[in-house]
Amino acid sequence: MDVRSQMSMVFHLDKCLGCHTCSVACKNIWTDRKGAEYMWFNNVETKPGTGYPTKWEDQDIYKGGWEKTNTGGIELKGAGKLKGLVNIFYNPNLPVIDDYYEPFTYKYLDLIESPQQDVQPVARPVSLITGKPIDIKMGPNWDDDLSGTPDFARKDPNLENLSPAEQEAMFQLEKMAFYYLPRICNHCLNPACVASCPSGAIYKRGEDGVVLINQEVCRAWRMCITACPYKKTYYNWSTGKSEKCLLCFPRIEAGIAPACMHTCVGRIRYLGVLLYDADKIEAAASADEKDLISAQMDIYLDPFDPDVIAAAKANGIADSTIQAAQESPVYKFVKEWKVALPLHAEFRTLPNLFYVPPLLPVMATISERSNSPKVNEISKQWDDKWLYDTSLDEIFGTIEQTRFPLKYMANLFGAGDEKLMADKLNKLMAVRIYRRHKTVGDISKEKSDEALRKVGLSESEAEALFNLTTLAKFEERFVIPAAHREQSIEMLESTADVKGSEGFGFIERPVRGL
């Protein structure tokens, strides 16, 4: 058992309101530089939708992540020692700037300096690459809230194995729904970007598992951009180096939450330590697709187990880190209550960002049954049979009535396993029913008990899940063991963070080489 510590995240999608505050906070700190304008270490996309970069989930296009070989092992789909070196002069699977968008600004000064004339002056958009006027074809969050549109929602790669009827049902105007999917780097246990880097510039920090790109060693072989199936490494076309989310490690070392999490308005984000067994990574990453998620869950260890604690201490993990692991909100969501799932586990990178799937847009379904008699006194019923309504024969509707097909949700979070997806949603629903019983009282105790019993939650667990979901304070959502002063990076080298430098450990300003 090789116990290591990993900073890992849970995003609670039911709570995400799509305000993009996280993206803006991140951009202001890390990517408001030349060559980085198009990068969003944190982005929020609308699902169903094509995302950023366009159709990033479609690995037939981008060849990201790992795939199983005939011999039972795994290999990188579009990079690796053979494919990477053969394609080093020209990477056939590289996303280009147009797959993201051409960064632009407006000539605002024209509004002020325009001479008097008969027409209103306009601020024309100009490219941030060439400085010339452009027609904007794509921008950050271009598909925001555009569920149902033919260009975005209907091209969602996760619709692939849904029948045309199922797809159509998702996009009828009156019944349409969507939710937001905020994404940062997953700081994977089996990172494809690290494995693909020919110069060895990308590495996983042993102490907290943050995946970083050493800017001094990066040589722009650009394999990481192909290899990362989440497209969370970005190429800076100006400096000729790749960059990625660094989980605000200077903040984490000081015990402060990363900027995206700190600013989260919906309080959807949780950050905490997971202890894991590094010896199990290889086996878990090459498990059969149906076992992938359970194999990944087995890697994470119980921080209360005396054997685990002893092994962790022998590996030099600080007591403060072990304590943080015991209080970790991520551990609770992922291991204790088992309601959070990794995004696209089938990419086999073992991501450490888990999502509590969104219940409301999925459950708030309505079929043409609004003429059926009301089961409950207080449930609302609208005359328009197509109207958005959560109150049919069950107060919240049931899993079987989902507005989003479970297959669609399972493609995103369950590696295709619909049953697993239904389990998670049922659990979340049970907590909801339990709380409705507690607070409103229009659901009977029998019904509430029955719902909890079915999903195997005790009342106290349901209460704890509810508390951490809705009422958790800052310190409960972010349990970050600060780096011990004698170990912190600042003791080794000056991070000399000035705005405009990247804080990756160099003092030099990041200017383009000759």
Partner: protein
């Protein structure tokens, strides 16, 4: 005198500048990069970058083999040598085609102009001329590659053994002389251009484990009260 300056002094200057410049620049490693522009323009790159790189690498290896083991060419003789020369010429043309395509691509694309500096243009023109000179020499003079082994390799060896003798080059036609000067000029300019990227070609990737985990301190001794903390620190190493 002029010969000595051009074929003895200049090469030494070029090599010294190349060595010192490259090491100095590596020390401040942020600027070592291929500066790939594929992210901004990918469609025209395939028919430019691949032929150029494949061509130039094969040609470079041919030059290197001829230099390191001169007798190999002479001993081959006859038909084999012709085959080798034909292969060399094909790859020479390939490299020439590639570099011209790269040059055109760079000039045509608006986005690429934003990431193009003067040295990129200088280097590309120099490479075009240099490869052209090499190809022309191969076509116009029917000495065969044996000549390279017989005359040029000894000259290069004389440079490297610090016993310089320029007489062999001085007797060569202008085309060859220019090719020699061009070669050392390019070597001189390597530390000042994007050409440095060939010095950090990722051969070590082949033998490396796929996953890289770096520890800032030695996790086995960090909690050991008998080890001073300074000794537990592992500075992250670069390649």
């Amino acid at each position: 005198m002029v010969d000595n300056v051009l074929y003895i002094a200049f090469p030494y200057v070029a090599i010294v500048v190349f060595l010192i410049g490259s090491i100095y620049r590596y020390k401040f490693g942020f600027k070592y990069s291929t500066l790939s522009s594929q992210f901004l323009e990918t469609q025209k790159l395939y028919l430019a970058s691949v032929p150029f790189h494949v061509g130039i690498i094969v040609i470079f290896l041919f030059h290197l083999i001829g230099f390191i083991i001169p007798p190999i060419n002479i001993s081959l003789g006859g038909t084999t040598l012709v085959v080798f020369e034909t292969i060399g010429l094909i790859f020479g043309f390939l490299a020439l085609f590639g570099i011209i395509m790269l040059f055109i691509r760079r000039l045509q694309n608006e986005r690429l102009q934003m990431v193009t500096n003067k040295m990129d243009i200088v280097i590309e023109i120099l490479l075009i001329l240099q490869i052209l000179l090499g190809v022309l020499t191969a076509i116009m003079y029917k000495w065969g590659a044996g000549w390279y082994s017989a005359d040029m390799a000894p000259y290069l060896w004389s440079l490297f053994t610090f016993n310089p003798d320029a007489s062999a080059v001085a007797a060569m036609p202008l085309l060859v002389k220019l090719h020699v000067i061009g070669a050392f000029l390019i070597i001189l300019l390597i530390p000042f251009s994007r050409l440095v990227h060939f010095l950090v070609a990722p051969f070590h990737y082949i033998s490396r484990a796929y996953q890289v985990v770096r520890w800032n301190w030695d996790r086995k001794t960090i909690r050991d009260p008998n080890t001073p903390w300074r000794e537990t620190i592992k500075s992250p190493q670069n390649n």
